[in-house]
Symmetry: C2
Subunit: 480 residues, 2 copies
């Protein structure tokens, strides 16, 4: 790979592959591809390419490998770690897969859906519903994120507890290698032990090993019964006991278990249109959202939810609870949970963490991180929430009231290091579901040291991308 | 890697690592490590090593890499494709992990169990039961296979429908690399998006990329309700309709769905002690075993099973059915299914296939393969059975009555090619759950051709095992 800007002639050769209508050179028109949701990564690019076929993607990567041109693959541009954004001050060419948005096949008997990687997640969900099936990947950005990006980042979301990460929802892939070769791994098989697991190597590699252009996704039967409840609790220990209870009573019918710190509830009530406190008669330090879905009937789901809450009251691990009595009320409870990030914005700067620990360690992590953060920034407002059942906490720290936003945000990496050290001590991960991208690359290297894991990752990178053109400096620092 | 026999001095150095009591040189004492269940692979070895710790495994592999000594890792020695057996006429050293059989930790709150790779599968199951949890991997050899081999081959079994393959049951690994370095990837996390998925690359790589020495396994709540039924049907199409019906009514509570051709039932009744025809009032061309497990109660499971069978009768897709009314009857139905392989032995030679196709293609595959096999060997008795819900059929062909066994078995690869060509046409796999090992290596290369997939596998192999000492000639032909 070269760091020199591609010549005008070379840019013309790239543009010719997709046609000039789909080769964007004007900065204003490039804006939607260069600026991500938080505008964290200032970027420029000599060229944004919008190929319309696997063959065009292959031709682009072949030319890139031959000429040492860095390529940044991009899907829905909703990622939070900068993986889909060109490097600052490097002439990276952007390859957007958004035009490749065809659903190729839906087979409800085999329970598979085959599609281009540029299909929007919500459209996959709808296509599944159209044949009375469920595609359970669900996250805030589902209306604009695309399945290729979900796969490239092994996206998580609220359905992981029962259905797993995106990795668990994929049977096969079509990938264009950095050299321009096409791997047709679009298998529709639940079992296939014929060699190394390339599929799972591409999933989660954040566009550094190739460009995912197509996928075979798993479909599931649609649940019949659905219940949502919201409970007030005193401590994370109680939340863990409640999760253990609900999991033991419901098994895979427990389709969601989210926790929210009191301050998070206050932020949403204060800032999000239409959100009310579901338990207005008391103030509870913690809240849990419980979601149950059953195969057979609404009655079974209701009986399960009643059983969970009754036993929880008996054991004294919840103070109060409400069960949604309509779909609208169910949606309102989920809306509260999903507004957590947005509700933090009006409160000033927020230093974010997307961490996981073994589920049993969540209370200890929350206690220790709270002490450490409050010592570093007295008055900080810790807005912890997330997917408790997955051990995944979005540990967000809002600035003290009246503090200077920029001065507070300048301490981002300092606070990250404090929190992540506690995460690591509990055997946790510094990126549970968002990935590494640009923002956590150097910290990953620090945390891992130069052990065999990073060496193996570098060897895989070299084996797949000898010219070093695929999304360089993301996840791993480019070899000079 | 060298093909020369290791010198006596070198063998002494290997033996010194584990101690002479655990370095076996006498052929008679080596026998249990060189002969697998079917005695298909004649083998000799200069040395069988039985290390007692990760450090000893590391020292062995380091010395092997330095001296170019081929190492064959072995777990419970129950594999069916020869992956764990030395090559014929090559001086491979065997590394058995059976002494490393300690359960390191069980955490029922985090739902994880951490163990050495040499723990017997049944002992993992028992340890999970001891804390009121389920480890759902279940297969015929569970009393003697060891978890390291289950992981190295991504073993399947009867629990895959609801819980997935071994890959889906593992959160973390400890692996000794061919160079002797140790990768501590013993993470207990449900979510961890910090780089390439090395775990899933080692899982299923059949000991060609390193030696798995430890694992973090997922535990599940134990089901409360359990129902088993056995139904008689006319066609594979009806079996598919029944599976679709049961899956739609039970979702993840459908914990088993196996099919058996009539001749398979006859073989077990004829040859297996204590097996009786569960539906003695009729002769049905096909049978289905339905297993339902529920979180809440026996009543729920019973209601689900009744509902499945009632609707199946109404739609005319089953002829007769019986629900086991005791645990003993449930065990008897499963025993019938699990005796299928054994019951074929007294009927003479059996040419076996472990294939998968998309679930919706099973009827077409069975019809086409039947025509082709009967044309090649008139009078052949096709004993198809297996995990219909996973698309995985054990398509075994017993010799015609009175045929010469050796002459019949000499046509193994010819019949494999005929059946596998149909499998490939339906987008299937020539090894659904047993792996590639020695027996399917050349056929895998034929089926895949020299495309990018085999190239990527070879590049990964070189990146992980530059000296080429790890289980050479298994899965991939060793590079000369």
């Amino acid at each position: 790979m070269t760091d020199a800007a591609p010549s005008s002639a070379l840019l013309d050769r790239f543009a010719a592959i997709v046609g000039s209508a789909y080769a964007i050179r004007e900065p204003a028109a490039q804006e939607p591809y260069l600026r991500e949701p938080r505008a964290f990564y200032p970027a420029a690019s000599p060229l944004v390419l919008r190929p319309g076929s696997v063959q065009e993607v292959a031709a682009i990567l072949k030319l890139a490998s031959e000429t040492g041109t860095a390529i940044v693959p991009q899907s829905g541009n909703t990622g939070l770690v900068g993986g889909q954004i060109p490097r600052r001050d490097k002439p990276d060419v952007v390859l957007s897969i958004e035009r490749m948005n065809r659903i190729r096949d839906v087979d409800p008997v085999a329970n598979v859906l085959v599609c281009d990687a540029g299909v929007i997640l919500a459209d996959v969900q709808k296509a599944a519903e159209g044949v009375n099936r469920l595609f359970p990947l669900s996250l805030g950005a589902e209306g604009s994120c695309r399945i290729g990006g979900n796969l490239a980042t092994n996206a998580g979301g609220t359905g992981v507890l029962a259905y797993g990460n995106t990795r668990n929802l994929c049977l096969g892939l079509e990938v264009v290698l950095p050299t321009g070769e096409i791997w047709d791994g679009l298998r529709r098989l639940k079992k296939d032990n014929t060699g190394y697991d390339l599929r799972d190597l591409f999933i989660g590699s954040e566009g550094t090993l190739g460009v995912i252009t197509g996928a075979v996704l798993k479909l599931f039967p649609r649940p019949v019964g659905h219940q949502v409840a919201f409970a007030g609790l005193n401590t994370p220990e109680d939340a863990l006991a409640l999760f253990d209870l609900a999991s033991g009573l419901c098994h895979t019918a427990l389709t969601g278990f989210e926790i929210i710190a009191r301050i998070g509830l206050e932020f949403t009530v204060r800032h999000i249109e239409g959100v009310r406190d579901p338990l207005p008669d008391g103030v509870h330090p913690w809240y849990a959202l419980i979601d149950i879905s059953t195969a057979d009937s609404e009655e079974t789901a209701a009986a399960m939810m009643t059983s969970v809450l009754e036993q929880a009251f008996e054991r004294g691990i919840i103070n109060d609870a409400v069960i949604a009595s309509s779909v609208a009320q169910q949606d309102a409870l989920w809306h509260l949970r999903e507004s957590m990030s947005e509700s933090q914005r009006p409160e000033g700067g927020s230093i974010k963490h997307d961490v996981s620990v073994p589920v049993s360690r969540i209370p200890a992590f929350i206690a220790e991180a709270g002490d450490a953060v409050m010592e570093a920034i007295p008055g900080a407002r810790i807005c912890a929430f997330g997917h408790m059942g997955d051990g995944n906490i979005h540990y967000n720290v809002s600035q003290p009231i009246g503090a200077d936003k920029q001065a507070f945000l300048a301490r981002w990496h300092e606070i990250n290091r404090i929190v992540h050290a506690i995460v690591i001590r509990h055997g946790g991960s510094i990126s549970a579901e968002h990935g590494i991208g640009q923002i956590k690359r150097d910290e990953l290297a620090e945390v891992r040291g130069d052990g065999i894991e990073m060496q193996l990752m570098r060897r895989i990178k070299s084996a797949f991308d000898p010219a070093g053109i695929m999304n360089p400096d993301k996840v791993l620092k480019a070899q000079s």
